[in-house]
Point group: C2
Chain length 465, copies 2
Amino acid sequence: MDDVRAIDDLIARLQTQFGDRCTVNSDIRERHGRGESWHPAAMPDVVVFPHTTEDVSAVVRMCTDTNIPIIPFGAGTSLEGQVQAVHGGVSLDLSQMTKLIAINASDMDCVIQPGVMRADLNAQLRDTGLFFPIDPGAECTIGGMVATRASGTNAVRYGTMRENVLGLTVVLANGSVVKTGGRARKSAAGYDLTRLFVGSEGTLGIITEITLRLHGIPEATAAAVVAFPSINAAVETVMDVIQLGVPIARIELMDEVSIDAVSRYSNLNLAVAPTLFLEFHGSPTSVKEQAENIEAIAMDRGSASFSWSDKTEERSKLWQARHNAYYAGLALRPNSIGLVTDVCVPISRLADCITETKEDLADCPMPAPLLGHVGDGNFHVCFIMDKESPEQVAEAERLHSRMVERALAMGGTCTGEHGIGLGKRELLVEEAGDAVAVMGLIKKALDPKNVLNPGKIFTTDTPES
Amino acid sequence: MDDVRAIDDLIARLQTQFGDRCTVNSDIRERHGRGESWHPAAMPDVVVFPHTTEDVSAVVRMCTDTNIPIIPFGAGTSLEGQVQAVHGGVSLDLSQMTKLIAINASDMDCVIQPGVMRADLNAQLRDTGLFFPIDPGAECTIGGMVATRASGTNAVRYGTMRENVLGLTVVLANGSVVKTGGRARKSAAGYDLTRLFVGSEGTLGIITEITLRLHGIPEATAAAVVAFPSINAAVETVMDVIQLGVPIARIELMDEVSIDAVSRYSNLNLAVAPTLFLEFHGSPTSVKEQAENIEAIAMDRGSASFSWSDKTEERSKLWQARHNAYYAGLALRPNSIGLVTDVCVPISRLADCITETKEDLADCPMPAPLLGHVGDGNFHVCFIMDKESPEQVAEAERLHSRMVERALAMGGTCTGEHGIGLGKRELLVEEAGDAVAVMGLIKKALDPKNVLNPGKIFTTDTPES
């Protein structure tokens, strides 16, 4: 049977089983062939909307039987081409799997389906006094966050998805269903499969249920905006804060380009200067103590202004603005696309890494706001490229490549939180070396026919050690 | 070539390469064939003491070439038969690999060889203001702690080995060397191999270098000993503390049998009652606040006494006593051996689990102290068995089996921190079900000849999916 016949037959079978929840509509397929990044779209042949683990298992079985690729899809906000159907096949859209299966408030955990949106989860948790802290800068699904090992602004205090997923239900390439981890806070029972699937970008299995660790909404919260005379002064403040062990909840850097973009986009009227957004969580006493400590450090480093807020509304506005920073960057220039970098370095090298990067950006022919989760040593430059200019894309790629080289030389990583997808497959080899072959052995063992999101993470379609 | 010839040839080659660092002395082999538990010893044919990653690689290559098992060995303190050479072969004793390769104080990390002892690491770190918090109840190597995903009394605040290993150097079954993870605080670069090797008990590779996350020595520390009228009152205090999100550093339960044993063994003169040992870390203000909160909770739950200490010497004495609890248990009865259980349940089920377990122990014909890291929902019953009594062993096994059944029914795990080894292979299947087949696929992919610590974790020697 040739490829065309095979996919047509599969589509017919899927339509029989899923009816309306299976579509070949080209607008829908087009939307499922792209994330939010500059990577070229690649449409799937068909989009299916499962509701249950059994639905997912049925689709995976059909795909494996016929050697047709299957690409999990959440909200389509990935930045490295994770959802692109580069070999065609089935886009498995999990966004209708939005059940909160259990909220165990007294154990501070919950069990959910992967299509639950981050913001919706927190809205549903509100009455329990608990929240889920991980907040990447997009309206994304929790399933997508698990699959890309996402983090965001709170990771410095609460960890990333790695630390906050307790267990998973996963459909494997052969359609079988396994449960990993559990609800105990720790376990030494065999290999840590949960952490293996977290960050595997749909290449090892399809996640259909997630047990998340939750956290108590802090008794007191306060935020501050601190402007600095130089980016170096801001970064050195961050290094002091981390090295002193202040249990800060959020510490976000925006350079002058970034703060200008964010301020305009969200009507905030912020001073155009390198700026830290801070947040403190704890008891009222501890929040006050943290804030005073940090104000003193910032003053020592020459901060020009330290403006405070413990009002919920003001804080929300501030963080919403930070959250929309990527879109604020894109709005700097109509008809633009973004290439977002994502290096992360040991904290002692952060000032060097940012300083050298800023020097490199001095002659950059396009807006390039810099911002990041600097408490983790993670920052982004967002190249706002003219869609029609191959020169700008080439220059952004060149500068990106230099950033990664710099970060790796400093003991860092090419991606703190966006993942590998299509965009960083070569960089993964550069960073991880022979370890990529070990990843390939695992991929091959769990998905011997390479039907699960093929073409992602690995530079070869049939990974070999 | 028959098996005897093969091992004799291998020993000859090892002796040529390693000289004095290779021995067939039967006392040394005997010591390398057992941990600290009741599992029968199984001697290796030869013991080798590597000093470098290259040494380890050379031994692994020779073993793989000749299909001879290789069993990594640290301090020999494992509790589930992890080091027993059940199929003979080479015990690879890593205890001479004790180099501190780098201490990066400003990044709060260090790189060490696996033979470094936990206590020695902290002694060496003292001048940096940093410490490594994970403290299982034995004088063990950090390598062994990585391999078994160890935790201990501080995990409620600082996490387990899972959260505190940033990267590894690992020798694979084919002798090749890979580096996993790195020094960045977070990364989304491919599969999380670091977490895969943490807890793999020497079955996937031999760990030869470890990058650890360190923590700042807290500005202030205080400890408390709180006695309760009933074990239920003590456990309910723990549940309140955890559910209120008090950032307690340690919260350890000992039942009346346990506290009596510990008190005698360490000359502490503690009241014989269910007791919590607590420790608070933070700024002086925050420590005071935490302690006052918890004193109020404990009083509400009817605690009889709340005795405080912020003196370093007193605190050290207390925690050393807790640390020696296993040996204190064994000292209750001369010529005894211990069967230590290790269940961990969601915190909301902890009181039920402990109450039902205590009821089950009412007629137990041997001492059975109960104690644990209750902030994590993890506790141990240590059956102090008469060495000569098969009836006692059988009864301890029956009671253990009921404990595990109870914990699994409550959403818990058969092992919070001791690992699977030989002792819990069937229980792993009961707990993890089909996920064990996935572990088997990974084992087979990474160690196709099954030379790395064969017979551990899996019930079959050639794991198949």
